[in-house]
C-alpha cells in the first residue's frame, strides 16, 4: 500500500515536472535567472539643461551642441502701451557643448549690462538603479560672468577685476518617477565689487525647484532662489533685492525645447537672477520670458560593431 502511494506520487511529479520544463514561462524564468543585474542610469530628469532661469542637473550628451536663445521682456505692468512688456527685452544667446557624457562647457552673452558668461558643468553623481544604486544626480556648476558695459564713472579708477562675478552651485536632483523631478541648488555668488561695505561679496542662496510632466511633451516647472537674509542691503537700480521665483512650462517638440515662463527676474545668468532680482510677485512686477533650446549632434555616437 505504501509502495503504491509512493509510485503514484513519483508518477505525478514526473508528469508535472516534464510539463513545467516544456512551458515557455519556464524558459522565461530560466532566462531571467541567468541575467546579470545591470546598472540603469536615470535619463531625462529634466527636459533640458535649464530648469527655468537657472541650471538643471542636465548637460548635453557627448558631442552635442545646444544653442539657447532666451528673452525676458519688460514687466507686464507696463500695460498695453508697451504690449505688456513685449516692446522691451533683455536677451541672452548661448551655446552649451557636451565634451563627455559627464562634462559640459557653456558660453553666452546677455545684452543686459553687456555681460559675457562662461561655465563648466560636471555630473558628479548619477541617479541609478540595478547593480549600482544611487538615489540622486549631483552636478557641479562653476561659472564666471564679465560685465563689459562702460563704467558709469570713467574718471575714477576702475579695475577690470571689478567686472568679474563667480558662481558655484551644487545641483542636486532626484527623478521620483517619470513625471516628478525635484532639485535643490545650494549656491554661492561671489561679486568682486559691491555697492557698499555692508553688502556681502559672497552671497549665499538656496535654490529649489522641480517639474511635473503633464504629457510626454509638456511639463510645468517652478524655481525659487532664497537669499540668506542680510547679505544684500543696497538697492539695485533703485529697487530692493528680492528672492527670484519663476513659474513656467517646458514644451518639447522634435529637436527643440521651448521654455515659457513668468518670473520676477530680468537676468539669465546667476549673478542677475540670484543677487539682482528686484521684481515683486505681489505687485505683479513680473516679466514674461522664454528660452528656446535647440540641439545639434556634432559628433555622432559611433555604434558598436
Amino acid at each position: 500500500m505504501k509502495f503504491q502511494i509512493l509510485k503514484n506520487l513519483f508518477g505525478i511529479i514526473l508528469i508535472f515536472s516534464s510539463a513545467a520544463l516544456y512551458s515557455q514561462d519556464d524558459l522565461m524564468n530560466l532566462l531571467e535567472e541567468s541575467e546579470k543585474p545591470v546598472t540603469e542610469y536615470t535619463i531625462a530628469t529634466f527636459k533640458t539643461t535649464r530648469l527655468m532661469s537657472g541650471q538643471s542637473v542636465e548637460i548635453p550628451a557627448a558631442g552635442v551642441l545646444q544653442y539657447v536663445i532666451s528673452h525676458r521682456f519688460a514687466r507686464i505692468t507696463a500695460g498695453f502701451y508697451d504690449i505688456f512688456g513685449l516692446d522691451n527685452a533683455t536677451m541672452r544667446m548661448g551655446f552649451d557643448y557636451g565634451i563627455t557624457n559627464r562634462l559640459a562647457v557653456g558660453v553666452g552673452r546677455s545684452n543686459f549690462e553687456k555681460t559675457y558668461d562662461g561655465y563648466l558643468k560636471y555630473k558628479l553623481l548619477r541617479q541609478s538603479k540595478g547593480a549600482k544604486k544611487m538615489p540622486i544626480t549631483v552636478t557641479g556648476f562653476a561659472g564666471m560672468a564679465i560685465k563689459t558695459i562702460k563704467w558709469p564713472e570713467p574718471d575714477r579708477p576702475n579695475y577690470f577685476s571689478s567686472r568679474l562675478y563667480y558662481t558655484f552651485q551644487l545641483l542636486i536632483a532626484r527623478k521620483f518617477n517619470s513625471d516628478l523631478s525635484l532639485q535643490l541648488m545650494p549656491t554661492l555668488v561671489h561679486r568682486n565689487l559691491v555697492a557698499t561695505r555692508a553688502d556681502a561679496n559672497d552671497v549665499f542662496a538656496i535654490g529649489m525647484g522641480g517639474r511635473y510632466k503633464l504629457t510626454g511633451s509638456l511639463s510645468v516647472n517652478a524655481e525659487y532662489y532664497y537669499l540668506i537674509p542680510g547679505q544684500i542691503v543696497s538697492p539695485v537700480y533703485g529697487e530692493k533685492v528680492r528672492n527670484s521665483l519663476t513659474l513656467g512650462v517646458d514644451i518639447e517638440t522634435g529637436g527643440h525645447v521651448f521654455q515659457l515662463m513668468f518670473t520676477n527676474s530680468r537676468g539669465m545668468t546667476e549673478k542677475f537672477f540670484v543677487t539682482e532680482t528686484t521684481g515683486s510677485w505681489l505687485s505683479t512686477d513680473i516679466h514674461f520670458g522664454f528660452n528656446i533650446n535647440r540641439v545639434f549632434t556634432i559628433i555622432d555616437k559611433h555604434n558598436k560593431k
Binding site: 541575467e35 535619463i43 555604434n303
Partner: protein, 184 residues
Amino acid sequence: MKKVFFISVSMLLFLNQIMAQKYIARNGYIGFFSSTPMENIEAHNYQASSVLDVESGEMVYSVLIKGFEFEKALMQEHFNEKYLESDKYPKSTFKGKILNMDQLDLSKDGVYNVEVEGDLTIKNVTKQIKVKGTLERKGSHIIAKAKFPARVEDYNIHIPAMVKDNIAEVVDVDVNVDYEPYKK
C-alpha cells in the same frame, strides 16, 4: 521498490536530457529601422537574451528597452521617455515556438529555414506574430536570424503629429542571436 528506483533514475536521465536541449544567448542583437523620406532612424541593442529549446522548438526572448542605442542622444531620450516609456515598461519579451521543429535535423552544420509563431510584448501590449527566419548550426552554436515588420501603433506607441513625417508607421525589426549550449 525496484520500480521506484527505475522511475527515479529515468526521471533524472530525462531531466539531464532536457538540460542538454537548451541553448542560451546573453548578448543577442536586436535592431530596428524606421525609414521615411524625411529621416532614417536606427537603433541597436546588443544585450538581448534568449533561450531556445531545440527539442520542443520553444523560444523566449527578453530585451531591455534602455539597451537600445541610437545615433543621436536626443532620439534615444525621446524613445525611452516619450514613446516606449521604459521607466514603466523596462522590458520587451517574446514567447514563441518554431512550428517546423520536428522536420529539422540540427545535428549537422548548415542553415535551416524556420517559421516561428508567438507572442510579442512591447509596452505591455501582447500581439501574436508569425515570423520567417533561419537557424544555423555552427559547431556547438546555433545562430537564429529573422527580420519582421512591427506596426508602432499596435503596441500603444503614439507618435505626435509634429514628428509623424520623421518616424515610420511600420518599423523593420532585425534579430541576430548566437546561442551556446545551456549549462547550469
